[in-house]
């Protein structure tokens, strides 16, 4: 997983292949220090994400709440059909910004 912080504080996460009960604690540990006060956008590249479970979805909610304090948003880009279907099932397509 790669994390890149832009000059405006935005965070881009790439290379994530799964987000599940087994790795969400590690994900939070890596991401939390990058959520600076300037950060208004976290873009998660979902093109390589093959698997998300309910703990993984809970982690996205956690991320959303971290950013909501500073009016930031989460953008999930290029989700696979499986991930997209799951987001729709849990009504998360209304909570996050999805880009094709």
């Amino acid at each position: 997983m790669n994390l890149v912080t832009d000059s405006d504080g935005s965070l881009r996460i790439t290379g994530l292949d799964r987000l599940s009960a087994g790795n969400c604690a590690e994900f939070k540990e890596l991401v939390k220090p990058r959520l600076t006060r300037e950060c208004r956008l976290v873009e998660l590249d979902c093109s390589a994400v093959r698997f998300i479970d309910s703990d993984g979805m809970g982690t996205l909610v956690w991320l959303h709440k971290q950013l909501a304090w500073q009016d930031g948003i989460i953008r999930l880009s290029q989700p696979t059909p499986m991930v997209r279907q799951l987001l729709r099932l849990l009504h998360f397509d209304e909570l996050f910004e999805l880009t094709p």
């Binding site: 087994g22 809970g58 956690w62």
Partner: protein
């Protein structure tokens, strides 16, 4: 991780995958990947494979997260069965288990957890959760998309499959028949409810049938005591055993499996490997064997516990038998609660009827007409409090133109008090020769009534007075009753008279003092019961004798006839009470020398 694939496992399913993974989150990923790859190799479409991967992951995560230290020592088992028309997964965990909700709903969108069960339910067609003693099995199934059919090797395999299907059908028919019998039994119990002499008989019948159906040879039924503090034994079957069980405190007995089940609100199993504790009271009835203790509730209130056991052998109860236990006992719980409610209602009706009878007796004792006794004039009042007490008064003409006045208060309430008032009234009326000797009359009445009053531990306070219109005097004797008040013209305040002796029913041979008072023209007398002097207002303040004397003095000085005097007195008492409810009967007799 152990991995095993098999084929022709029987029934509808032809091939299966069985995995045993360590009970830790890190192992879930490898296990679910194995499931994914196995299903993909079977030709299941990618979206279906992904759905199964997620459903199995959610179930496995729960199996790990909710296992206690002991449960974590045991592997989580995942089995996947590839059927003709559907895929089935079975996840066996070693957690305490939980009640699968009737309807699984999504939590709020900003909740960080609580979506696992919703996902499992959404991703499968059918779901069964079976709770057992040391393990629980979650069975998930979902139809396979059309077109995913394996090629059958040969005709013999097809025949074998047909035979398996027929065997499965026969099993299902047997199970259906058993369920039907259970249903019929419950309906039969419903119709037989009124035919049994007691709830115990009914419970015994039901429990015996349950033992037979579930192949149990011991059963213990305990119910929560009326004060809610104990579990009291109701039944121990078979009933040829001695009854060695005693009540157990719900707040104590940590070794009792029945108390544990009641507190945890879940079934507790025991077996030769995990026997009852040495000091468990249940051990006196079930020393060894397999068993299950089921606590039962109605409207979240504990009603009791039912324990079924097989004292010989080590065969535990099957899931279907446990379901039967739940159905029968939960049905019994409702009948128990209904029977208790009916008892309470009947008891309340009996009490209400008893009070009506007492009130009727009470009113029948009061004089319907006050006899004339010139130059004296009289008014009386009787006000009943909410509960019928034992007050009464009587005015009886003597042959010589005088009157015997009686005012009394029988200790206690309800029918017994009303009956003793009736007996006292008859006793006094039977001795007209003593009407002009109140002290002797009272002593004789006491001797007559003493044995009956003592037997029921009751007593009566009474004042009897002979109003002599010729000598214009009042002769009285007092047995533990309130004094009477006398106002005489020219006096600033009324005075209390009537030295008191023992109430009736205390000492068999007691004697009473006789008081003689002159009643000159204009004089007023008040005989009363303690309901007047003990009137309380809303703040709890007591009226007391001094204030009553003041009120009576006002009534005596501000009115000329006894009806007005009585009314003024009652109005003042009501004013003092100020809407507070009456706590005792109030009885008074107002007398005035009108000449």
């Amino acid at each position: 991780m152990k991995f095993e694939a098999a084929s022709a496992v029987g029934g509808e399913y032809r091939t299966s995958l069985r995995l045993e993974m360590a009970c830790e989150l890190a192992a879930v990923r490898a296990a679910t990947l194995a499931v994914r790859n196995w299903l993909a190799r079977k030709g299941l479409p990618e979206m279906e494979v992904g759905g199964w991967e997620l459903a199995v992951a959610e179930a496995s995560n729960n199996a790990v997260k909710y296992a206690d230290a002991r449960g974590r020592q045991q592997p989580v088992t995942i089995e996947v069965l590839w059927g003709e028309r559907e895929v089935e997964a079975r996840i066996t965990d070693h957690t305490a288990g939980f009640d699968w909700p009737d309807k699984v709903e999504l939590p709020d969108v900003d909740a960080e957890s609580g979506r696992g069960l919703f996902l499992i339910q959404s991703l499968t067609d059918k779901l069964v959760y079976l709770r057992h003693a040391n393990q629980n099995v979650l069975i998930l199934s979902r139809a396979r998309p059309l077109g995913v059919v394996e090629t059958l090797a040969d005709i013999s395999q097809l025949q074998s499959q047909l035979a398996d299907t027929e065997a499965a059908l026969a099993d299902m028919t047997a199970e259906l028949s058993s369920s039907y019998e259970s249903l019929v039994a419950l309906f039969r119990y419903s119709s037989e409810l009124g035919a049994h002499a007691s709830l115990r008989d009914f419970s015994q019948r039901l429990l015996k049938d349950l033992m037979q159906i579930t192949e149990a040879d011991r059963a213990v039924l305990r119910l929560v005591s009326p004060d809610g503090k104990k579990l009291e034994p109701l039944l121990l079957l078979p009933d040829d055993q001695q009854f060695p069980l005693k009540p157990i405190l719900l707040a104590g007995a940590p070794a009792s499996v029945e108390i544990s089940a009641a507190r945890k609100q879940q079934d507790i199993w025991f077996s030769p490997e995990e026997p009852l504790a040495e000091n468990d009271p249940l051990r006196r009835a079930i020393p060894t064997g397999n068993g299950i203790c089921h606590p039962f509730f109605v409207a979240n209130q504990l009603v009791g516990t039912a324990t079924l056991a097989r004292s010989g052998g080590d065969k535990p109860f099957a899931a279907a038998q446990v379901n039967l236990l739940h159905s029968f006992i939960d049905f019994l719980a409702i009948q128990i609660v209904n029977a208790r409610l009916l008892d309470e209602r009947t008891s309340a009706q009996v009490t209400r009827r008893e009070l009506e009878i007492a009130a009727n007796i009470q009113h029948s004792l009061l004089p319907t007409k006050i006899p004339a006794c010139p130059p004296f004039e009289m008014s009386a009042a009787y006000q009943s409090a909410l509960q019928v007490g034992g007050d009464f008064y009587d005015i009886i003409p003597a042959g010589d133109g005088s009157l015997l006045l009686v005012i009394a208060d029988v200790m206690g309430k309800g029918v017994p008090a009303a009956l003793f008032a009736a007996v006292l009234r008859s006793t006094l009326r039977s001795m007209p020769q003593l009407f002009n000797q109140p002290a002797e009359l009272m002593a004789t009445a006491n001797r007559i009534l003493f044995p009956d009053l003592t037997r029921v531990d009751m007593f009566v306070t009474a004042l009897v007075a002979c109003l002599d219109p010729h000598r214009r005097k009042l002769l009285s004797a007092n047995a533990g009753h309130c004094p009477f008040l006398v106002w005489q013209p020219g006096r600033a305040q009324a005075v209390a008279y009537g030295e008191s002796g023992f109430p009736l029913g205390i000492e068999p041979l007691t004697r009473y003092l006789q008081t003689e008072i002159d009643l000159p023209p204009g004089a007023a007398v008040l005989l009363y019961t303690d309901g007047l002097s003990e009137t309380r207002n809303a703040t709890g303040e007591l009226l007391g004798e001094e204030k009553l004397i003041q009120i009576f003095t006002q009534a005596a000085t501000q009115t000329s006839d006894t009806a007005s005097g009585k009314q003024l007195l009652l109005t003042r008492l009501n004013d003092f009470r100020n809407q507070a409810p009456m706590t005792d009967d109030q009885t008074l007799v107002f007398i005035r020398h009108t000449a």
